[in-house]
Symmetry: C2
Subunit: 146 residues, 2 copies
DNA sequence: TTCCTTGCAAACGATTTGCATTGGA
DNA sequence: TCCAATGCAAATCGTTTGCAAGGAA
């Protein structure tokens, strides 16, 4: 379930972008808001059911990404997972299970995150590359696969 | 061009795995060794030319990954890039250009890398997740796209 | 000889798109 | 009303696989 707050932020962002917040798109957002990590079209479809056909699901994901509401994530061959953009969900990192492929969000305590920021800034500063964002992925076995 | 050292390590690894180090596979390895970041089958094919058909290229990539010589990398929708495994190329991180999608390796100075390791250990320690590896990706605009 | 490897073409799975229909501001 | 959004089916794209031919031990 999306929180009323997040939903209002999305409504406003989509209105600003002249994009309608339709039933199908609300269903997609709701499913992603309930997930604890990025989800692919197929994974979402499994949760959502027949009420949103795959082609519409893909179109919704594309539109919502374009509008900056969703962010794509790549960690498995041949498929894209999506999650709420960080301005909605907060900055976080990912645990990637090398066994089942599932990706789980982790929030990092402020102190650690700040140290991480410093390191990233140091690294990016040393090369001709303008840093916009950083992503730390930790690979291992999730609780289910251990 | 692969260095003689790396090439000898690969020969040995493949011999141990009962996998032949054929001409086609040498070409793939050589192209990846010359690249400064992970490359997709299509990107490799562009460099290699017609001498290795795509289906063979894909098979080589699969076999070499299976043997632990190559590691896959995911950062663009719908395609897999490969790079030499870290035991051959050394531990490193990636700069991902959000404009053209190209991925570039960066080595991180020992001091920074050690601080990074500590942070990752702290994070992984706080959740039920066994850490095997970590990957830091910095997203931004590469020199060409800036 | 005996497998492993290769090439070509067909098959696949994830995603995209054309087109006619529906729906929301 | 009127254009954006949807649904279906067909098309694309990256990748995989069946099968017959080639190559190395």
């Amino acid at each position: 379930m999306t929180t009323p707050t997040i939903d209002r932020q999305i409504e406003r962002r989509l209105a600003d972008a002249d994009v309608r917040y339709t039933r199908g798109r609300r269903v997609v957002i709701s499913a992603l808001a309930e997930a604890d990590g990025p989800r692919s079209a197929a994974e979402l479809s499994r949760v959502i059911g027949e009420s949103v056909p795959l082609s519409s699901l893909y179109r919704s994901l594309a539109v919502l990404e374009e509008a900056g509401v969703l962010a794509p994530h790549f960690s498995s061959p041949g498929l894209t997972r999506y999650e709420l953009a960080e301005w909605l969900s907060g900055h976080h990192h990912h645990l990637v299970c090398i066994c089942c492929g599932i990706v789980q969000d982790i929030e990092v305590a402020d102190g650690l995150e700040q140290r991480l920021q410093e390191i990233v800034a140091d690294i990016a500063g040393g090369v001709s590359f303008s840093e916009l964002n950083h992503a730390l992925e930790i690979e291992g076995h999730c609780a289910g696969c251990a």
